[in-house]
Symmetry: C2
Subunit: 685 residues, 2 copies
């Protein structure tokens, strides 16, 4: 467990050998000498009737002298055994501890923990190397290789060149506390990387005696934030997780302004590459400090990024991505030595970059795909990651399609009159009473709802300064649910008679959320901006659904920073995503980062995502003549054009108005028309 | 031809395809577009009765429009055809030009030219790459790889990371004179290296349009001299060959003094590594200037060195090689990117280092082995490379053994009273009249023998300053042949009555070679020094002959600078080497460098020498109890202990003295005895 794999073995088989012959990865550094303690397992006791197994501590061998010594010297937790020493003596259910648990909701919260089965690219291998012998004048390195082949089965081992001058000295170093070594031999630990671009494994580092820890980093470089996990490659334990701002922001807030910066400045690309690499190195320092880890002990790294970050991080000019045909310089997965692009970890560390799916659907989308696994589903899964572009993946085991849709920055709070970044003082939750039309809201940094006693007192520290991205979705959705806006998105001015919250604003009306300093309103233009953004997303989803020939999806996953803060229900009420059973809609946080972590801890996941990305059908919305019509239709809120029966069953949607169904929304306003045309042009370009 | 391979092909088969299907390497860069001209061949006309072939120009297709155009634009030498365009129309004998011819005697002299069949690790591949397409969002690199797979059959291509940021721009560069490219495609030339440590081929460089030249260097780093060939990898033409002094000489004249320097100076190893790498880079500059080649066009390099140079060049501390058990840090062949050790050629160039055979038998000996090929012989070949250590390889197809013997520096002119380096003014040839005992000699830089009229006049420019290494062998051998010294090496003082050339010198006698300023004599001590050196070499050879269970060898090859200047006959008269048919004894010059060149031009030779070295049985003379006795016996000149019948048939050796045969030579002299003991100790240590 947890793999569930089963097999029959002769009495006396070491549990480690049994696990390996079943293809279950159990770590071992010392090679069965009972000194590293990495191969710990525990026995589940009980009568597993379903499997006709009675598992008992009597069915495993008693501790022998080696295991006893390990327990005496290093200690062994209650119930744990060293699987290299403990042997099978009867039916057994064995637990292999998998310390990496990934929470799908928010990292490090235990609600929906997921276990990543480990099979890392890096292995630590303790060996005894023959001392030199004039009769057999093999070199030190050559005898080391021979020992690694004999004890660990590594064939055709390569070695990183910078290590060659150090091997002599490392082999001849004696540490006071190292394991006992046979006569005429030297004990060393080789760090072997078996997922290099070569078909052959590499010795990437070498240590005297027993080296018993190795780390890796998984990193998601976003346009605004860089997120990183530091993980033990030997236990899967997450030693630290942290984030930092992407310093490229000083060259341009969003991706396209960074591409422009490169086009305008001869050394712009170089400056941004330098900035992001420095930030990554600083963040490595930060997670190492948090996790109390030496950065020299990091031997592997996995990166995901959107296409423009991908190019800038790798030192590639992103200009081509700013214009049709949006040609990626490289789309396939990449790997090389981390030092080759200046990443400051062990000199022998590798860097793996997940493949990009298309010019607007990057390695981050590939990471999210790996994490959520539409390609592993029996039923149709929709995966959306919303940013300036929405990256959309839709599929199941049979077929996966992907596209990007130009949502623009409205969801991030830009182009919204009272919009602001998610920071203390920002409104993050909103409810509107459908009868009184009175709102209540929560503010980041304040512990109470606005209608609770003491709220104003508590809010004095932060102020109430604006609406953050997730709350904009919520307030517009609540305005729709309470009848303040119609399916067309028009604020109903007639309600001004019923409620002072509806205020006239030139030729249109606004909803007054808070009358203070500042005055926070949701204007007709704000609603339009959200409609345009959601229309782009929804049109992309509908296009992919058409490609798949389906009219509903089974599950929906909202990935990304935006997705982790909005309530999926409100996203559906606004029609960002299609109708779906609400229980099947989940925000999954930084799924791209989780995908990077999976690729770090299990190299099989690298092959999985490489194959998946090759098979994904890429749809370019700009080339689809039908996309513009889908976009215009998608301006309406649910039930206007598309009925949302599952949503309607859970949330009382306003009654569907039959009279103007199918009409292009907003025909009355020439200004709105011109905005829609601009948006459609943007979608086409 | 010259491979001699034959086959039957359908009428109309392009000659290039026919050659390839026979496993004959014919270069082609443009991939059959008739633009690069690299695939030229010519038809041999005539009736090859032995092979039942009538070859005629009628049996090859007439030139088509593509070949015509090439001839018009670039010119085609008389009789040459483009094998990608010319097709088989009947029986044909085809010549594939192999421009590399290696002279075994002295490089670039045409007497015993040898052809190295080419199969280089580097290939230039012109391809047409699809322009980007929004419907198929594959990256530029990924489409390049697809084109290289489609047109050239390269699978699983890798790319050097530093190239990734440049690919976009290279693909989009249009050159004015590049070949015509199909609509919607880009024409580029990829440099593919297929002998990396990876099992997968690497794209190491990329050029817009047709790139039609690539070079490699083969380099032998000796203790005193660094020798280098610059060769076209596409034609095999040697563009330049040159040499330079090893600047490490300032840290110590010989190898052991350099090891001492490392032991005494904390930064000694680093300083010597830096010095030799700088010298290699300067020498690359020199051969590039001579050959009019851009150093950026060098994509491959092969190095051979003795073990200590090998370690210092690679940045490895050589201290272990100065003491038992003489442990090499690495013995196997190595390869990595040339820039990783600071070699200034193309950033994508590789470096291949031949394997070392043992702690005193280096990659240079492996190079000489590859060049002369004892492992390819039906009959027993002895290969000796004489320096401070003599490296000895003996074997045939069945079995090869190797050892090193501590000859000391006498052969290089050190420890010799009138010894000097081979430079103008040094005596390089000596003859002694057996009747008058009068010498004649030749001096480097002087065109006449010393007994010819005008010699003294001509010698005024250089002076006559001493005896160089090769002439020391010759003068001692001539002294033996003329009876001045006995089989024991004693200068016969009784001859002083007959000739004023025999002069007393304390308790011993000397031979006066030239009575001038300086006075040049060969003293009894000089003879002893040569005897000790030759005894070490001969004892090593005898030891290996014993291991092989043979009492004579069929062929002898003298490699190295020393070997290329001495006359093999005199080496045998002195008994440096065992008795052998004189016509089967050859000096082969820098065979190590020739081996490096072979490994550069044909990667099959790399596998050949790796396998051979693994199989060679390494004999450590210091561990052989019998070696000391062999050494003492070997002090005598031929016919004293070992009869040399084949030599005696060609050269009238002095009659064998039966009286003291078998006695330990020189029992009379306590001083000599102690020198022998010192030498034996040195051999043991």
């Amino acid at each position: 467990m947890p793999s569930g794999k089963r097999g029959r073995f002769p009495i006396g088989t070491p549990v480690l050998d049994a696990a390996r012959s079943l293809g279950v990865y159990v770590e071992s550094v010392c090679g069965g000498r009972a000194t590293c303690g990495r191969c710990q397992v525990s026995v589940q006791e009980g009568n597993f009737a379903k499997h006709k197994i009675v598992s008992s501590l009597d069915h495993i061998s008693v501790k022998g002298p080696k295991e006893d010594r390990y327990e005496r010297v290093r200690g062994l937790p209650e119930g744990r055994r060293l699987s290299c020493s403990a042997t099978v003596q009867g039916d057994l259910v064995i637990d292999v501890p998998q310390d990496t648990v990934i929470n799908a909701q928010v990292v490090r919260k235990a609600a929906t923990d997921r276990v990543i089965e480990r099979n890392p690219a890096v292995q630590l291998c303790y060996v005894e190397v023959e001392e030199p012998d004039m009769h057999k004048p093999l070199g030190d390195l050559d005898r080391l290789k021979a020992a690694l082949e004999k004890e660990w089965g590594w064939k055709d081992l390569l070695v990183v060149p910078h290590l060659i001058p150090q091997i002599q000295k490392i082999l001849r170093t004696r540490l006071p506390d190292q394991p006992e070594v046979s006569e005429g031999k030297w004990g060393v630990t080789a760090v072997v990387h078996r997922d290099t671009e070569s078909a052959r494994p590499f010795i990437v580092a070498l240590y005297p005696g027993l080296k018993n820890e190795a780390y890796g980093i998984a990193c998601d470089i976003g346009s605004t934030t860089i997120a990183m996990h530091l993980v033990s490659l030997l236990s899967g334990r997450i030693a630290a997780s942290s984030g930092a701002a992407n310093p490229q922001i000083r060259f341009g807030e969003d991706l396209m302004s960074r591409v422009s910066y490169v086009m305008m400045n001869p050394d712009g690309r170089e400056a941004m590459t330098k900035a992001v690499r420095e930030a990554v190195n600083e963040l490595i320092g930060k997670v190492c400090a948090e996790g109390n880890v030496n950065r020299e002990d990091i031997f592997d790294s996995v990166f995901v990024c959107n296409p423009i970050m991908h190019h800038l991080f790798l030192g590639i000019d992103p200009t081509e991505l700013g214009q049709a045909p949006f040609a990626l310089a490289v789309s396939g997965a990449l790997q090389f030595w981390a030092h080759e692009i200046g990443i400051e970890v062990s000199r022998g560390a590798r860097l793996y970059m997940l493949p990009c799916i298309a010019g607007h659907v990057g390695a981050d989308a590939a990471g999210a795909t790996l994490s959520e696994g539409p390609h592993r589903q029996d039923r149709m899964m929709l995966l959306v990651d919303v940013g300036t572009n929405a990256e959309i993946v839709l599929g199941n085991k049979e077929r996966v399609v992907a596209a990007s849709s130009p949502t623009g920055p409205a969801f991030e709070g830009a182009e919204i009159s009272s919009g602001q970044r998610a920071a203390p003082g920002a409104i993050e939750r909103v409810r509107i009473d459908p009868v009184t039309l009175e709102p209540k809201y929560r503010v980041i940094g304040v512990d109470k709802w606005s209608d609770e006693p003491g709220f104003e007192e508590a809010a004095k520290l932060t102020g109430v300064t604006g609406i953050c991205g997730s709350a904009i979705i919520e307030v517009v959705a609540e305005m729709y649910l309470s009848g303040i806006i119609s399916e067309d998105g028009v604020v109903d001015g007639s309600l001004a008679e019923r409620s002072p919250r509806i205020v006239q604003n030139g030729r249109t009306f606004s909803y007054l959320l808070r009358d203070g300093e500042p005055r926070i309103t949701v204007t007709q233009n704000d609603v339009r901006a959200i409609q345009l953004a959601k229309a782009a997303l929804y049109a992309g989803v509908k296009l992919l659904m058409e490609k798949q020939g389906i009219d509903h999806v089974h599950t929906i996953r909202f990935a990304g920073a935006f997705g982790s803060f909005i309530d999926p229900k409100y996203a559906m009420v606004l029609g960002l995503i299609p109708d779906c059973d609400l229980s099947e809609v989940k925000a999954v946080g930084n799924a791209a980062g989780t995908g990077a972590l999976m690729a770090l801890l299990n190299r099989d996941h690298r092959r999985e995502i490489e194959q998946t990305v090759r098979k994904i059908e890429k749809i370019e919305t700009a080339l689809e003549p039908h996309f513009q019509q889908l976009f215009v239709n998608a301006m309406a809120l649910p039930n206007k054009v598309d009925p949302f029966p599952k949503l309607a069953a859970a949330v009382p949607l306003p009654p569907r108005k039959a009279d103007d169904a199918g009409a292009t929304p907003g025909e009355a306003s020439p200004r709105r028309r011109s905005r829609e045309e601009r948006a459609a042009r943007r979608a086409r370009s």
